[in-house]
Amino acid sequence: MTPTKDPTSAGTISDPKPATKAKSRPAEEARDGLFSQAEPDPHMLTAFVGDQDEQSADILPLTPLPFPLPLPITRSGKYVFSRGIVLPQPIPIPIPRPIPFPFPEPPIGGPGRADAEPVYDDDINSITLYQREEVQVDIDGRYPQMAISGTRSGFLTIAAHWVASVRRTAPDTYEGPIWYKDGAPNAVAHTHIKAVVTGGFLPSTRQVQITFTGGGAAAFTRTYAFNSSAHRSVEFEYDRVSDAVAVTSIATHAHPNRPATVASENLTLETVYRRAGFSVSKSGGDTVIPTNVSGPDSLWTDQEMHDAMQGHWSRFANKPQWSLWVLFARLHAQGTNLGGIMFDDIGPNHRQGTAIFSDAFISNPPAGDPAPAAWVARMRFWTAVHEMGHAFNLAHSWQKAASPNLPGNPWIPLANELEARSFMNYPYFVSGGETAFFANFDYRFSNQELLFMRHAPSRFVQMGNEAWFSNHGFQEAAQHSNPDYELRLSVTAPGGRFAYLVPPVIEAALYNRSTRQKIVSGERLAGRKGLTLIINPERGEPRQWLPHVRHCAEDMERVLKPGEALYDSIMIGTGRNGWDMADPGRYCIQAVLDVDGGPVYSNQILVTVEPPATREEERLSADIFTPEVGQVLAINGSRTMDGVNKVLGNALELRQNPISALAAATLATPLSYTFKVLGDGGSEADAGGAGAGRQIEGYGADPQAVRHLLSHALDRPDDLVNTMGQTRYLRDAPLLAGALTQDVPEGIEAFEAVADRRPQAAASVLPISDTLQAQLREKAAGLSE
């Protein structure tokens, strides 16, 4: 049968109505910590925007205006640069491009640059690697992600992709680190950008000038011309089986359960994706597919839908393209419990087709619903956007984080968003269920999802390109962990967030998950050769953490009963490689430990390092982030490294930052006992050659200094313990306790492992909370040595 064009019918396939102009509404509020606040730009102009295209209107923020003025201008969008070689005619030989020369202006700040370093007018580091660059500027408009990303390409292929997080540092100026790179490493050598975005209501006047610095590469500045207010383009095509209902738009105020801030509009599928940053068009060819099949045979299988896509979709091709087919059908063969599916994980080109089933559970409003028809329309609309989101390679909100039990991987370490009011979450999964979801739902995607759709490498997002669920995230983890054990990593910092300057510490526990007693090595987990710990930053390559110290000792065995654990704190922020986590951003951490000759894989945890909160923190960072300071923090202090101790002394002044407490503890610990120093012997050394006169000198404990230093941490004692690491605190507690009571331990007693003394000492040194005391008591029994 020949498909026929579908005449306009209410609530079904039709040419989408023009998107309504965005109406005034209060600025969005941060909700559940998932959505960033729109940053008002005091320099935003209001002017006639007759030249604004429909795309622009869809992405403008809904900010309140006192009287009906024309819409404000946004400058987010796509900007391009193309390095062309102009050949004067009729000379047939190519003219070599002039060697870039540095600007005469004063050098621009940025990490890794000396003041006298020049700034070039082209990327001399990789001038042969690409000819064209597109940047996505995402700093205003609807749901700005405060990100700028770039794709560098040669004549035929993409060379590299980068993403930077930015904040506004001056009018029209946005700066920040490049935290993600993909492709040829030397095609994106820099680590920092400064972007100046200029231009007015005429798009042709807009441009962005970006200066790239850092990474040990020659800095350069490049100017990009405005290309589009959308980041990417996509086209949709809708087909409907004649026995199904299609919902491609809804009236947002039709159902009374909604946020007060949702504008009243006829919201279309295209508008939802325009607001996500796409230029959306219809590929045309919307059809109704007649069916004369009824009953069980009218149910659709995935293979049948895939075949239908090939036959009915006007754009079908076995290749990646920014084009998507949507089928509205009645029911899937699975039954009424399947509301829709991105069925296209078949064949070589995934994610080109989706289907929505109008007679599934989404057509059954709950009993007593005040507007059942509107409820059904909303659920069908939600399902359509949701399934289309899978075609963009978006995972469900609860599937974002990598897991050994997921077949694919996120493009960057992601966190699950269980309470997200996003199209990618099930409304009935959140606390309070579907009613709570829609009471708080703004018909949008989460910031993680918008960042992905706008800024991830295009192949991860584009239909028919990257395989489904691959690089929605992470490395595939098909390891088979020894089931008798569990290696659990956790952080005590709330939300896994660490202040700038503080080296993140994770708490590790090796549990016996078998039903039998196990004999394991009692060696410290952090120092074991069999421990491999990987730090995977969002903005760089994964690296292996290497401890400053490994303890070589006679094999100590410990008995672990079922359910018992060995514990250790691991200061992963600093190691033999230096400061692996100095840069603000997110990091995914995972470890594997060799136990009984087999690997035990840990869970993955997400850790965030905050950006500097004050200028003082920025100023001190250069002193803190040195190998020497990292070493001293890791080994609990030094009496002889005066330079380091001076830096730690300065850190004491940052009272609002936990580094102050950590510095106090690090300075206090070596003062808690008689500390041996290899001295140069004074005049006796002058008389002889090398080594002459050197002798061990003992410096006594200084309890008064210990007390004074620890007073820095008395207002937040739990924070100090967690910043040090709970097991490290347990090990040091007897020393500190002894110093405070002037019962200074000597010799081996100072370091004797006495499990039952530690909790008492820990509680006596600092006024820690009962909860923390209980945790420490449990860990004291299972300290790895």
Partner: protein, 102 residues
């Protein structure tokens, strides 16, 4: 009298062998159970619970995982089973209405 029950194996399954029993009576023995992540569902099993049968048991022998699910005198008609904590645990949800997937 029997009670009809729908048992949905949902998130976290990756080529798993799953056994489902009620009071020791085998209801299903499934191989190669894998979650289709785009809908969050691997497999559904319809079964009959007889009067007096009180405990549903789901086991993944290769993972050394098992969980007992008390059914009570009126078994819930819908049970959803997911693997959590990186495959180290089993989570259960029950309901009176069909579970929906999309």
């Amino acid at each position: 009298m029997t009670h009809r029950i729908n048992i949905a194996l949902e998130e976290g399954f990756l080529g798993d062998h799953v056994r489902i029993e009620v009071d020791g009576r085998l209801l299903a023995d499934l191989d190669g159970v894998s979650t289709r992540v785009q809908i969050g569902l691997a497999r559904s099993v319809e079964a009959e619970i007889r009067d007096g049968e009180r405990t549903l048991m789901v086991a993944l022998p290769a993972r050394h995982l098992a969980k007992d699910i008390p059914l009570g005198s009126e078994p819930p008609p819908y049970v959803g089973i997911s693997l959590v904590d990186g495959g180290q645990g089993i989570a259960v949800r029950t309901g009176d209405a069909p579970m929906g997937y999309a």
